[in-house]
Symmetry: C2
Subunit: 373 residues, 2 copies
């Protein structure tokens, strides 16, 4: 393998592939990046068996291809080397004793390589079950649901995001059993087979971060035990989580006793201030009480002090509510909403609170209240 390439082009692609490497991985080969120089161009791949990422640099973007070939080299080192080199032409060559020579006018690095055949095979092919989404729609889906996933490995299905497709309706949902975030998308095409899969939230967040330019489409290729995402010259494969995801539609009530509309920015600031007198260990509990056209938010830590916040609201009827919930969960929910106004729906102080955006009826969130007495 021998070729020359501009530093910025190689770095941009290594920047993507390096995300597939976990710094905690104890198996050396899984900390590596594979370079495959073919007549088409250069493939860069990484895998930690949980996610795999492949970037492709077309031959037109490579200054000179002298010898084809493949090598496997420490991901962290090759990435740091290329990052620290100036933006000029870099000559990369496999030399004897399974070493990689990286050379510019003033620098000369030699890196020991790993054995190519030990690098896991990444199976890349298209699926019959393919969904195509706008990049921006895909990123919004992840942003608006992922935070509601569980961090607790003890319930693996809840550490993923559920993608459910029936014909042209895609329902994306996440829950940690104390809250739910659900987004409905109408697909441009109908899918033949119903789909109901769970994708690890961590991998979706990683992949979402790779989408920098919001123009264009993302392809999702769904298989039995994995999903492949494709956009531009980038491919990411994630395993799926086995198990059954809770049926979220059963959790979300269709009727409610009372609802209130409020300004999202005022509500968020009030929660933020009220959360000063809450603690993680105490579930960040705050109280919300409605009195005519006011919502009164209170919290207190007896040894420190207390706070009372007032916001104007518009209620659907004369009913009043006095309910307690996690300020953190409510603030997470509000950050997922892009409108200026929201509607909170209640069915009494022990029943879930529904949070809806006034501009996006396809985003529905739920928070379980906290019983205080």
């Amino acid at each position: 393998m021998k070729f020359s390439i501009k530093q910025n082009i190689l770095l941009e692609n290594l920047n993507h592939v390096i995300k597939g490497i976990s710094s905690k991985n104890l198996i050396p080969i899984l900390n590596c990046i594979k370079f495959e120089l073919t007549t088409d161009g250069l493939y860069l791949s990484s895998t930690d068996n949980d996610i795999s990422i492949q970037a492709f640099i077309e031959k037109e973007e490579i200054d000179e291809i002298e010898t084809l070939g493949e090598i496997v080299v420490s991901g962290r080192y090759i990435y740091e080397i290329i990052k620290k080199l100036p933006n000029e032409l870099i000559n990369i060559e496999e030399i004897i004793d399974n070493k990689l020579d990286i050379r510019t006018t003033s620098s000369n690095f030699t890196l020991n390589c790993n054995i190519v055949s030990e690098f896991p095979n990444i199976d890349i092919r298209n699926s019959d079950n393919t969904i195509i989404l706008d990049k921006i729609v895909f990123k919004n889906i992840i942003r608006q649901t992922s935070f509601a996933s569980s961090q607790q490995e003890s319930r693996p299905t809840l550490t993923g995001i559920n993608f459910k497709i029936n014909k042209n309706k895609l329902e994306v949902g996440a829950t940690d059993s104390f809250r739910v975030s659900k987004k409905i998308i109408e697909l441009e095409q109908e899918i033949k087979n119903d789909i109901n899969i769970i994708i690890p939230t961590r991998n979706l967040n990683e992949f979402s971060k790779l989408i920098i330019d919001d123009e264009g489409k993302v392809e999702l290729h769904i298989f039995d035990n994995k999903i492949m995402f494709k956009f531009d010259n980038l491919i990411m494969i994630s395993r799926l989580i086995n198990g059954e995801f809770p049926d979220l539609s059963k959790l979300i009530p269709e009727k409610f006793n009372m609802s209130m509309k409020l300004d999202i920015h005022q509500f968020y600031s009030s929660l933020d201030r009220a959360s000063l007198f809450t603690s993680e260990s105490d579930k960040n509990i705050i109280s919300l009480e409605s009195k005519k056209n006011l919502a009164i938010i209170t919290s207190n830590i007896p040894e420190i002090g207390h706070v009372e916040e007032k916001i104007e609201i518009e209620k659907s009827n004369q009913e009043d509510i006095n309910i307690s919930f996690s300020s953190k969960y409510m603030m997470d929910a509000l950050r997922a909403i892009d409108s200026d106004q929201i509607e909170l729906q209640f069915n009494g102080e022990l029943k879930p609170i529904i949070i809806r955006s006034s501009e996006d009826e396809n985003l529905i969130q739920l928070i379980v209240p906290i019983r205080t007495s």
Copy 2:
């Protein structure tokens, strides 16, 4: 105590005083801020017995003063509350049961106060030994020396910066016994008594960070066991470190066998790349060898790889050098230099390397080489 003040004015001053509070302090009163409302204005103070900070808000900046008085309240809470309030008028009032009431149109906080008499007395008065420096000069002194201080509490004197004044010559020096950074400043005024003090580096760094606007002067008031810094409406007091600081002038040789001039940016980038193949546990060791008009910088980790960097140099004579040192220490030293070119001076591979800026003869740095064979 009862007054009204704009949020941004109070926050700006709390921003300073909060720096005097250590989050690790287990004594509650040392986590507090004292508010003293007098006919002149509002004094805010904090102290952790190591540093004390006082900010003063003139009465003209306070919208309304109704009742004078003093209270002591949790620093972290009052700071976070004021930070999270919108930029509008805040009404602050001491209410019964030793509580503080903080009120805006929509928020109402009540904070429990601490006992005023338990707050340490901060002794603020001017000294006969006063130095006046431009803020920008003071900040540069700290930036150019502090990194060379020791982090090891086992040798307390080396965790401070030495200020030595003889007539109108101020010598500022720091060392961790492996490197030295020394800056000489000519004062505008002569000081009657010789001064030789050690100021904790950590406190100087904190104080330096408080100087945001570079226009104007800083006053240094020196006492037997403490130093007071004054600028604008801000006062900071630091304890001094007892003990004798090493005589740095004895460490810095006046003659040298060979010197080389080199471009600081090229040298820094080469060191940065070479440092990829070094490790903290191995003292970040790299080698520098001169060959005619080239300096060759090398480093290696046998199981990973090696690197060779070349830079053009201008040598003072035919002598050559082959020396090893910490790339981290050399990079720290280079960051303190503002010129484009530096001169390295050598007296053999086991003798200290002197680093000089080509534009500032008053900054002298030294690094002890590492013996490799």
